[in-house]
C-alpha cells in the first residue's frame, strides 16, 4: 500500500515560524530567507485502505488535527505555500525529525491498540523556506542547509544534529 503523509498547519500565523524568522533576520541578515513557514508532518505507514484510512484517523483524533485551529491536507495536494507574494520565489522544504521520538512511538501504539489498520506513524516538522527570485536553486538549497543545521551557537537554528535528522524532500514544482 505504501506510506501516506499529511501536513498540518495552524489557521493563524505559526508563532515558531515567526520567532525563527526574526532570529534569522537578526543573526543572518545576509542569507536569511524572505519567507518561512512551518507545518506538522505526519507519515502514516502502510494504511490498510490508503487515504480513506488516514482520513478516518485524522477525523477521529483531534490531537493530530484540531479542526478549531488547524487545517490539513495530503502531502501531494500541498504544493502552494501560503506566501504567494512573488510567484517567482524559490521554495525549499526541509523536514526535521527526532532520531528517537516518543510521540511517534506512542501514537503508533494508540493507533494499533484501537485497530486503526496502520502499521505506525512518524511525526516530523516541515519547514518551508522561500527566497525571492534571482537566487539559483542550488544556492537556495545550500542556504537552507546552513540555516537549518545547528552545529555551533552562531551557525544554524532549526535542527540539533545530535538528536535530530533532516532531509530535503523533492523540490517543489510550483
Amino acid at each position: 500500500m505504501g506510506n501516506i503523509s499529511i501536513i498540518v498547519r495552524l489557521k493563524s500565523p505559526d508563532p515558531a515560524a515567526m520567532t525563527a524568522m526574526s532570529t534569522f533576520r537578526r543573526i543572518y541578515p545576509e542569507t536569511c530567507p524572505d519567507s518561512l513557514e512551518r507545518y506538522d508532518y505526519w507519515c502514516f505507514l502502510n494504511p490498510c485502505l490508503g487515504r480513506e484510512t488516514v482520513s478516518g484517523i485524522v477525523s477521529r483524533y483531534h490531537d493530530i488535527v484540531n479542526p478549531n485551529k488547524q487545517t490539513w491536507s495530503f502531502i501531494d495536494e500541498f504544493s502552494k505555500p501560503v506566501d504567494r507574494s512573488d510567484d517567482r520565489m524559490v521554495w525549499i522544504d526541509v523536514r526535521v525529525t527526532d532520531r528517537v521520538d516518543s510521540v511517534s512511538e506512542n501514537w503508533t501504539a494508540i493507533l494499533r491498540r484501537n485497530r486503526c489498520e496502520v502499521e505506525g506513524v512518524l511525526c516530523s516538522v516541515l519547514w518551508r523556506f522561500g527566497f525571492a527570485s534571482g537566487i539559483s536553486f542550488d544556492n537556495a538549497r545550500n542556504r537552507v542547509l546552513d540555516l537549518t543545521v545547528s552545529t555551533r551557537r552562531d551557525h544554524g537554528l532549526l535542527a540539533n544534529p545530535v538528536s535530530q535528522k533532516i532531509d530535503l524532500p523533492a523540490p517543489l514544482l510550483i
Binding site: A20, T23, T151, R152, L157, N160, P161, V162, S163
Partner: protein
C-alpha cells in the same frame, strides 16, 4: 572579586524561575541581580562573579527548547566569561540554553556536541513533573564550584520538563561519562536506566553535565525549588526525609535549608575559598 560576590541571573522572555533563583542566591550569603536578555551593557558594567540561567520557557520553547535564547547577544558575554573561568549554572531551560550554546560539554570551543532531546518514556510523551533522586559524580564534586558541598548523599530535587534527555553523538558516547556531574538514581543511590529512576531516558542516566574545567554546569533538576526544607514533600525517604521530619519536630521547619541549597551554598564556599 567584590567583597560579597555578585551572581547575575539572566532573564529571557519566558523565564519563570528567576525570582526563586535570586532568593536562593541571596539566602546563601551572596548578592544577586536579575538582568533581562537585552541588558547587555548593564550586565557587562556590573561585572558579575558568576552567572545563572534560570528555568522556564525562553521564547516559549519555540523551534527547540533553548535554541533561540542561545543565539541572543547576551550569551556572547556569558560565553566569554565562562571561557575565562567564571562559574555558570544553567537550570532546566538554562541547561538547554547552555547545551544549545555549545558551552557544555564544551570539548571543542563553541561546538554543539550534545542535545537535550524530548523525553523518551514508553507509553507517554510530553511534559513530566516529579521528584527525582540524584548523586554527584566524584570528579564533579572536586572541580565544579556548584557542587563542593553536595557530599556523598542522595539529593532529592524536582524536575519539570519536556525536553530533558541528554543525548550525545555516536562518536562522543564514551567521552560523555567524563562530563557527568549529576546522575539519576533511586532513593538508595542505585542507578537504573528505567523509568521512573531515570525519568526521561537520558543517556548514562545523566541529570547534569559540566565542561572539562568544571565551571559550567547544566542541570535539569531545579535546586531553587528545594532550597527550603518545607518545599520537600512528606514522602521523601532517606537522609533528607529524616532531616525534614526532625525540622518539623523541632519547629525549625520554615527556616531550615533543603537539598537545593547545597548548590548555591557550594558557590558561596567557593568564593570564600573554603574548597
Amino acid at each position: 572579586m567584590k567583597s560579597v560576590p555578585l551572581v547575575a541571573v539572566i532573564q529571557f522572555p519566558g523565564s519563570n524561575c528567576e525570582y526563586e533563583t535570586k532568593r536562593g542566591i541571596l539566602n546563601s550569603g551572596m548578592d544577586s541581580c536579575i538582568y533581562r536578555w537585552n541588558q547587555c551593557r548593564e550586565l557587562r558594567d556590573s561585572q558579575p562573579d558568576a552567572y545563572v540561567l534560570p528555568g522556564g520557557f525562553s521564547f516559549q520553547d519555540r523551534v527547540r527548547a533553548g535554541a533561540v535564547a542561545a543565539k541572543e547577544r547576551i550569551m556572547d558575554l556569558v560565553f566569554s566569561e565562562a571561557a575565562g573561568g567564571k562559574p555558570v549554572l544553567g537550570i532546566c531551560n538554562g541547561a538547554q540554553i547552555l547545551v544549545e550554546s555549545g558551552m557544555v560539554p564544551g570539548w571543542e570551543r563553541g561546538r554543539i556536541e550534545s542535545a537535550l532531546a524530548a523525553n523518551h518514556i514508553s507509553g507517554r510523551s510530553g511534559y513530566l513533573s516529579r521528584w527525582v533522586f540524584l548523586h554527584v559524580a566524584a570528579k564533579a564534586q572536586q572541580i565544579c564550584p556548584w557542587l563542593g558541598k553536595t557530599g556523598n548523599g542522595i539529593i532529592p530535587l524536582p524536575i519539570a520538563h519536556a525536553e530533558g534527555r541528554f543525548v550525545f553523538s555516536e562518536e562522543n558516547r564514551e567521552r560523555a561519562s567524563s562530563s557527568a556531574a549529576l546522575k539519576y538514581c533511586d532513593e538508595k543511590g542505585i542507578e537504573s536506566s528505567d523509568y521512573p529512576v531515570n525519568p526521561n531516558g537520558s543517556f548514562l542516566n545523566l541529570a547534569g553535565i559540566m565542561n572539562d574545567r568544571g565551571n559550567v554546569l547544566a542541570m535539569m533538576p531545579h535546586p531553587e525549588r528545594a532550597f527550603w526544607m518545607w518545599q520537600l514533600p512528606p514522602w521523601i525517604p532517606g537522609e533528607w526525609g529524616d532531616r525534614r521530619d526532625q525540622s518539623l519536630r523541632s519547629g525549625s521547619h520554615a527556616d531550615t535549608k533543603g537539598p537545593g541549597s547545597l548548590f548555591f551554598m557550594s558557590l558561596a564556599d567557593h568564593f570564600r575559598g573554603e574548597r
